[in-house]
């Protein structure tokens, strides 16, 4: 198991003049000048801060909506808002806080912090970071514009069907949510892929997994959960939008659908989402607490084990949101037990933090106040969570204000307080300025008092039977004073948040210059200039240089890969397990392409929203063209000499190795894609087995012709898998022409598969609006068709590369990526074909 022995001793580079290195690196890594420079920025420091800043703005908007809700509920029969507006506000409050504040905030934190604590210069895919940001911004703006236009979603942040179906929610309100949130989720998937790849492949040389900062473990767990947690919701949103737009009945009971399928898909995402939000916050706590207690963390191994347990167990709880829908006792017991069990790894962490404080000498500085606020609030939220995991109590409290109180204790306790601790802890690192004395502490106390005054009371309101999500309530004396109290303290809490924001702004603008490492923290983010330079490290930390003490050594270029003598953005890629230096990656520079691609995707979303479905095709063509251009930007046209990383250590550039960052990223993306496909299979199984209205009526089409077409499609896709192997073998043996021929053959066979799928969908499948079975078959055909289109594109790209001479014996080009996607497409097509044929046969 000991993998460190495989990491060779690396000698440090000779020292250089730090200022010269700084100037050389900054010329290469800095953003361009002016507004265009900001638009084309791909730097992780810029984008991390931009994510967090934008998330804070959305937090403020969500907070204002909360105040409007509390104003309405302050008195019985409130006339401040009408029902429709109230429904829009509480839906948007939840959606904004979840999708436009919490997730982007954690993404921003990860993007800003990971390269700095892992000892690298940027995230793995800088343009993807920028694409994620623009998708987030545009998706959020769509939701916001809908809010101001009075057509915001109004069916709750969970969008339950049939309430959100076209029948009961006409207009575009629900579409705004389904399309806008899915647009934003592109950002989450982008972030998850690059966080995973950055942690696995870009750790400083010799930094084993068991030695990396706990925050990186937490982020790794979070990104893995995002890769697996978001696809069910993306699938659900696609299915519901297709039902609303084209009347395919996935959730319509009368035609073989089932609204419970939506609930399953939503909560398959929705419950892990709580832990997706909590884990980074816990990572912040595991970083801050030991530093402010002048000690080391207690139970590093136990905490990592707890993270692993949380990552897995959180996917086994989703049904506890559905305890009242009518589920057999045994299934209730499974999910109740899992819901109780998940408290154990959470408690392990809480006790580890308490143990750390007990062992050390806690200093009651501003971040520590927020840590204590976390303890008080989150532990209470966790305990009410255990109460809600118990089925009989859940049945009583379901859909009451008690649940509202619980979820706010968990989310504000488990995310907002730790994020405020993070902000006050890292602001000196971000701005290079010290805080204004006193204002932060005042903000903390006002927030703490306001929060508990609002939500502790709300437990009682719920226990006295007041339902959630109602805009008016009768003048029941038991509810009246509780609601008024919650509303008053809600405004107190808002004043506290305003003070907190003011404190941050004043610190950024007027704070005096901070000490280089004001908390005397050991982690690498303090081993650099303050505020952070564009390149983070002038040289990358070697095994003996991986703490804050190495600041001067690294600035003088004594680490690995010093400077930017070749005038390109370079970083070191290491082996995922051993952190042994593997190769040098050259990253793309500033680019407007991410903005263009996000705008093209936005155009597609807007055409869907407007109901101009035919115009989505040009938008998709634009997306495909920009993706092609994106790929062209990564192509290497010639061989590159190895790069001297340190004395005696020369490493190849990425074009000469198959295990690139892009390859690892493609694997991560396929994990997410596979989860979406598995969710679709779950939908097929769920509707086939559980939904009323099954078995479906016999299909009108199909039979032998359908089987032949499906068989021919599979043959074409499998032939594509052979073609890519043939091309790769020819490439290795130096037969460039043959490699091009292999790519060409793959292109033709994939094109044939695509045509066959289109023909199958057009002629051999039944009308998908008739029954959920036929709608599911249509979706399966569409899924395989989309992938056939993607691998056709891959083959065309490889053919073009071969033609340009970019594929050579030492340069595999796009062949490894094509092979991954081709194999995946063939495998999923096989499964989809089996289902379609089985459904036809069964009928």
């Amino acid at each position: 198991m000991s993998e460190a022995k495989f990491v060779p001793e690396i000698a440090p580079n000779p020292p250089q003049r730090a200022l010269a290195l700084h100037r050389q690196l900054d010329r290469v890594w800095a953003n361009g000048p002016g507004l265009w420079g900001q638009i084309t920025a791909v730097n992780h420091t810029t984008l991390g801060l931009r994510f967090m800043g934008t998330a804070l703005i959305f937090f403020a908007i969500g907070g204002i909506l909360a105040m409007l809700i509390r104003a309405q509920l302050a008195t019985p029969q409130g006339a401040f808002l009408d029902t429709d507006l109230y429904n829009q506000f509480f839906t948007m409050h939840g959606s904004i806080m979840m999708f436009l504040f919490a997730i982007p905030m954690l993404e921003g934190l990860a993007i800003y912090m990971l390269p700095k604590i892992l000892g690298t210069r940027d995230m793995a895919f800088p343009r993807l970071t920028a694409l994620g940001y623009w998708c987030y911004l545009f998706g959020g703006l769509i939701l916001l514009i809908a809010l101001f236009a009075g057509v915001a979603p109004r069916d709750g942040w969970f969008m339950y069907t049939p309430l959100s179906s076209a029948t009961y929610s006409p207009g575009i309100n629900a579409d705004v949510w389904l399309l806008g949130i899915t647009f934003v989720e592109i950002s989450a998937i982008c972030a998850a892929v690059e966080i995973t790849v950055t942690i696995l492949r870009q750790r400083a040389p010799g930094m084993k997994l068991t030695q990396m900062p706990l925050l990186a473990w937490y982020m790794l767990g979070t990104s893995a959960m995002m890769l697996v947690g978001f696809p069910p919701l993306i699938l659900g949103s696609i299915l519901l939008e297709v039902e609303r737009a084209f009347d395919w009945p996935f959730f319509d009971v009368a035609r073989g659908g089932d609204p419970l399928l939506w609930q399953h898909l939503f909560w398959l995402f929705g419950h892990p989402e709580v832990y997706i939000i909590f884990l980074p916050a816990a990572g912040v706590l595991s970083t801050i607490i030991p530093v402010l207690c002048r000690t080391t963390i207690v139970g590093y191994g136990a905490i990592v084990a707890a993270i692993v347990a949380l990552v897995f167990l959180s996917f086994g709880l989703w049904v506890h949101h559905m305890f009242t829908v009518g589920i057999p006792h045994m299934a209730l017991a499974f999910f109740s037990a899992a819901s109780v069990l998940v408290a154990v790894p959470t408690a392990v962490q809480v006790f580890a933090w308490i143990g750390t404080m007990w062992k050390g000498q806690p200093q009651l500085r501003l971040p520590m106040l927020h840590v204590l606020g976390f303890f008080l609030t989150f532990v209470m939220g966790g305990l009410t969570g255990v109460m809600l995991a118990i089925v009989p109590f859940n049945w009583q409290a379901h859909d009451t204000a008690f649940v509202t109180a619980h979820l706010h204790y968990v989310l504000i306790g488990g995310f907002v307080f730790p994020m405020m601790a993070a902000a006050t802890y890292w602001m000196p690192q971000i701005t290079g300025r010290a805080p204004i004395k006193g204002l932060g502490a005042a903000a903390f106390w006002v927030i703490l008092i306001g929060f508990h005054g609002t939500f502790f009371i709300m437990h009682l309101t719920g226990l006295m039977g007041m339902p959630r999500r109602i805009d008016v309530y009768p003048a029941n004396p038991e509810w009246t004073w509780l609601n008024l109290t919650s509303s008053i303290f809600g405004f107190v809490m808002t004043i506290g948040f305003a003070l907190f924001a003011l404190d941050l702004i004043l610190q950024a603008l007027m704070g005096r210059r901070t000490a280089r490492n004001p908390w005397r923290a050991p982690t690498l983010e303090w081993a650099m200039l303050l505020p952070t330079p564009s390149y983070t490290f002038a040289s990358l930390p070697l095994p003996q240089q991986q703490d804050a003490q190495a600041r001067l050594t690294l600035a003088r270029g004594e680490g690995a890969l010093p400077g930017a003598a070749r005038g390109v953005r370079e970083l070191l890629v290491t082996d995922a397990g051993t952190a042994r230096p593997d190769h040098v990656a050259v990253l793309p520079g500033n680019s407007a392409l991410p903005l263009g691609l996000a705008a093209a995707i936005g155009l597609f979303v807007l055409m869907m929203l407007a109901g101009l479905y035919w115009l989505t095709l040009p938008a998709l063509a634009l997306v495909a063209a920009l993706v092609w251009r994106w790929g062209r930007g990564m192509a290497f046209t010639r061989d590159h000499a190895p790069v001297t990383v340190a004395p005696g250590l020369d490493l190849p550039v990425q074009c000469h190795t198959p295990m690139t960052l892009s390859h690892t990223g493609a694997v991560c993306l396929l994990v997410a894609n596979g989860t979406l496909f598995a969710s679709l299979l779950f939908g097929v199984g769920f509707l086939s087995v559980v939904a009323p209205g099954w078995p479906a009526p016999p299909p009108g089409h199909g039979g032998v012709a359908e089987a032949w077409m499906i068989g021919a499609t599979l043959v074409a896709l499998v032939f594509g898998a052979f073609a890519v192997r043939l091309a790769d073998r020819a490439r290795r043996s130096g037969a460039g022409m043959l490699a091009g021929a292999g790519a060409g053959a793959g292109f033709v066979s994939n094109l044939v598969a695509l045509a066959l799928i289109a023909w199958l969908a057009g002629t051999a499948l039944d009308d998908p609006t008739g029954h959920a079975r036929d709608a599911l078959r249509g979706v399966l055909a569409g899924y395989v068709g989309l992938h056939a289109f993607i691998v056709t594109g891959f083959a065309a790209f490889a053919f073009d590369q071969a033609r340009r001479g970019e594929i050579a014996p030492s340069r595999p080009g796009s062949l490894p990526g094509w092979r991954l996607w081709q194999d995946y497409t063939a495998a999923t097509a096989l499964i989809a074909a089996a289902i379609v044929l089985w459904q036809g046969g069964a009928a």
Binding site: V308, A331, L341
Partner: protein
């Protein structure tokens, strides 16, 4: 990566067994397995108990064959195996007593 693979093996077994038991539960209820007599009461309970037992055995075997070592490299695979075993035992024990459908 070996470290990660060994650490994740136990929880992965739990995830597979949990999914399998939940799927068997739904399928069995839909197909009327609870009305088919078998050891342990019904074919449904028998199938669920067998799946659960297989998960417990797999986790037990994982504990037995996990690699030896020292420090965190040894601790994490051991902890992962125990997480798998504990989670399988605790979350699925209702198969032996709760009414099935």
């Amino acid at each position: 990566m070996k470290l990660l693979a060994w650490t994740l093996a136990g929880p992965t077994i739990w995830a597979i067994v949990f999914s399998l038991v939940y799927a068997l539960h739904g399928a069995g209820c839909a197909l009327g397995w609870q009305d088919v007599e078998a050891p342990l009461g019904s074919a449904h309970r028998l199938a669920l108990t067998l799946a659960w037992s297989a998960g417990l055995v797999a986790c037990g075997m994982l504990l037995a064959v996990r690699p030896a070592g020292e420090g965190r490299e040894a601790y994490l695979p051991r902890a992962g195996a125990w997480i798998g075993l504990g989670a399988t035992l605790f979350t699925l024990f209702p198969v032996v007593f709760a009414s099935t459908c």
